[in-house]
Homo-oligomer: 415 residues x 2
């Protein structure tokens, strides 16, 4: 926290001192009064040489400690979170008519999603506040990352998931020893119930939208992209949007670097939702306020009909001069196939939604073939095998005989 000045309400603009238990603006209330962590950028600029980061032997997001809202002395869970690979995706770029496309594979985090970046901070903040139990509601990834990071730190967890959460994600939670509450209802139901339970039992609250520190973990994906591109920000960053926290984090990260002068321009943000649940993309497209919608998409991690961080997300897109679009579930499955076949990367549906949206923007001529573009893959496809099979089809079944094999392959005009 040595570089944190305080917290600013994104609704009323008031600045508050950071203190234990303060998560939302008391004046604006828990719904509107979302807080943003404010840093002393002048101090960072003066006291943190860029070279210290470049030569850091810490191969995790903690190489960016001066930009994080935790005490340097706070114990950390023993998991390597962050510093996921950024790949130059030549084959994929060719398919999309983009000559400078990169894929940031955040499915390579310890529990296989970008959410580990937030959960590691949540766990450390809980320890700083001397809490021993953490709770959250989640469509799955925030939950499994919290359970994993908490287990590594020796903390207890209560996790509220909607009934539809895929088995792979629930299995992770259970293996990590979490108390898992499967709420027989929507994500909103799970969120509401978790909020009441957190209030009643006084647990540490890891619900991302109302906990201002979590976006700070998520922003490290942007810090890494900048470092991996040798401190030249890309022209566009494409990312899927559900609650709105990740895209807000991406924007915060680039802004941090811009404010300390480590990058000299900011990227445009492309936020992508599934057309089965696109309250924010629709609002942007139709230039109107957002309103709640049904949750009707295979991309479960971004099936959020009532996004908790809508304001921050929309502001990020607007400030970056970016945009938002919605893509169909079919386009999402197509993006899974294309990414796997061209690059050997397996993303979950919500993980590749940003990539699917890129196609739309290129077709519309809004992104040119020479622009430098990063697509963030936010979660690993192993978390949702059912949809992967939907995307990819079935294997060729044969009896163990060459004769049968030859016959079956001939039918398929192989090899």
């Amino acid at each position: 926290m040595n570089n944190v000045i305080g917290l600013r309400c994104i609704h009323c603009g008031k600045e508050l001192s950071a203190k234990p238990g303060l998560y939302t603006c008391p004046a604006c209330g828990p719904r509107d009064g979302i807080l943003d962590v404010v840093y002393d950028y002048v101090k960072i600029k003066r006291s943190v040489p860029l070279e210290r980061v470049v030569h850091s032997k810490d191969y995790s997001l903690f190489r960016y400690l001066p930009f994080l809202p935790v005490e340097p002395s706070t114990p950390r869970p023993q998991l390597r979170v962050g510093l996921s690979p950024l790949y130059r995706a030549a084959n994929l770029g060719e398919a999309l008519c983009l000559n400078h496309l990169y894929v940031k594979d955040d499915g390579q985090n310890p529990t296989a999603s970008l959410k580990d970046r937030a959960s590691v901070i949540a766990v450390m903040k809980a320890v700083e506040e001397k809490m021993t139990t953490i709770a959250c509601s989640s469509t799955g990834n925030a939950a499994s990352s919290l359970a994993g990071n908490a287990a590594a730190m020796g903390l207890k967890t209560f996790i509220f998931v909607p009934g539809r959460a895929p088995q792979g994600k629930v299995a992770q939670l259970l293996i990590f020893g979490a108390n898992v509450i499967s709420v027989q209802g929507s994500y909103s139901d799970a969120f509401q119930l978790s909020a009441q339970a957190i209030e009643r039992w006084g647990w540490y609250n890891r619900n991302a939208a109302v906990n201002p520190y979590l976006v700070e973990g998520k922003k490290t994906v942007a810090l890494e992209i900048a470092e991996q591109l040798d401190w030249k920000a890309p022209d566009w960053v494409a990312v899927s949007v559900g609650d709105g926290c990740i895209i807000s984090g991406v924007w915060k990260g680039f802004q941090d670097l811009y404010k300390v002068g480590w990058i000299d321009k900011l990227p445009k943000l492309l936020g992508v939702q599934s057309s089965g649940c696109s309250p924010l993309a629709d609002a942007v497209q139709e230039n109107r306020p957002w309103h709640p919608v049904e949750e009707n998409t295979i991309a479960d991690s971004i099936a959020v009909g009532v996004p908790r961080n809508a304001e921050k997300a929309l502001r990020a897109v607007r400030e970056s001069h970016g945009t938002m679009v919605a893509v169909s579930d079919e386009e999402i499955l197509g993006a899974m196939r294309l990414l796997g076949r061209s690059s050997g990367i397996f993303g979950e549906p919500a993980g590749v939604t940003g990539l699917a949206g890129l196609r739309t923007l290129v077709k519309q001529g809004r992104i040119g073939s020479e622009e430098r573009v990063v697509a963030i893959v936010t979660g690993n496809g192993l978390k949702d095998v059912k949809n992967a099979i939907n995307a990819a089809g079935e294997p060729i079944k044969v009896e163990p005989s060459m004769e049968r094999l030859v016959v079956e392959l001939k039918k398929l005009q192989l090899p």
Copy 2:
């Protein structure tokens, strides 16, 4: 290949020149004539300073290029293989009465298993030999890693899997665009059919036991362990054993470092099998030659009744003054739970079998509490969700109401 002298038959000891298409000793035949890659250690010692590796900015297994059987100029697939995290596992160590326990989480590789280390080499060797199609048979992980690495490199794959391969692994293959042949029989059936098809169509052969270069990729896990422990070899390394290739690779890696003087002692190897399929562990325990057995275990990646690399594996265990044991499926599920709850690491059944065997050796007093021990987790639990649920149980289901929640938690004496 600049440091490779040639290939030595592990059966007759004859040395051969490495050349395209030479995978097994012509004199001893494809079953017995398994080849070992021989390096010029004097040259490596003279020409490669340890500091070059230590300060390498290559965060993948290619930081160890002087120890790899590929040309420095061969193109590499764009995936970050290797340099998986080694965690100091304090909580887990406490549970096992080991004060210096480390876990090497190789489930953090691009396709979520250690096999990526072999497949990246296979793909590069295929390119060196100007092949465009690669084939293999596999219980799953070798296959998905081959499919992923080949996709990243633009090569075609034919993959033979036994009918019982878990869905998660098959889904990965399909997403990566592999031609997947699901052989309705055992692993041995799949292996035989792949061998015939490779012969017939002239594909590049990635079957690990008969391709001498793959062990060279696998050995990098040992090189990393040594580097991550600051070039002090541990007392024991525990690893699961199926075909016998990984444990052979681990031994080769430590031997490489010993021969160039980067470590000054060698670890003992603990090879662990499931008692449902333990031909090698039984042979070691009963001090007799191994013979084929049924494949009857949940740990599908090591359910190999006829291990193709038995001789190399048994030699590695013997030379290291280590041992082998078998553990029950129940003990394997218990190890999954323990690892997840204590450390936030999710391993698949075969991935944690080595860890399960550690318990046995500690109980027998063969490993003391002060010994430095590394357990290699060879694959991610997300690949086999069904068994994870078997290990971990079901979530607590409730309607979205506080009243119901309070009732349900009370039943379980929570929170």
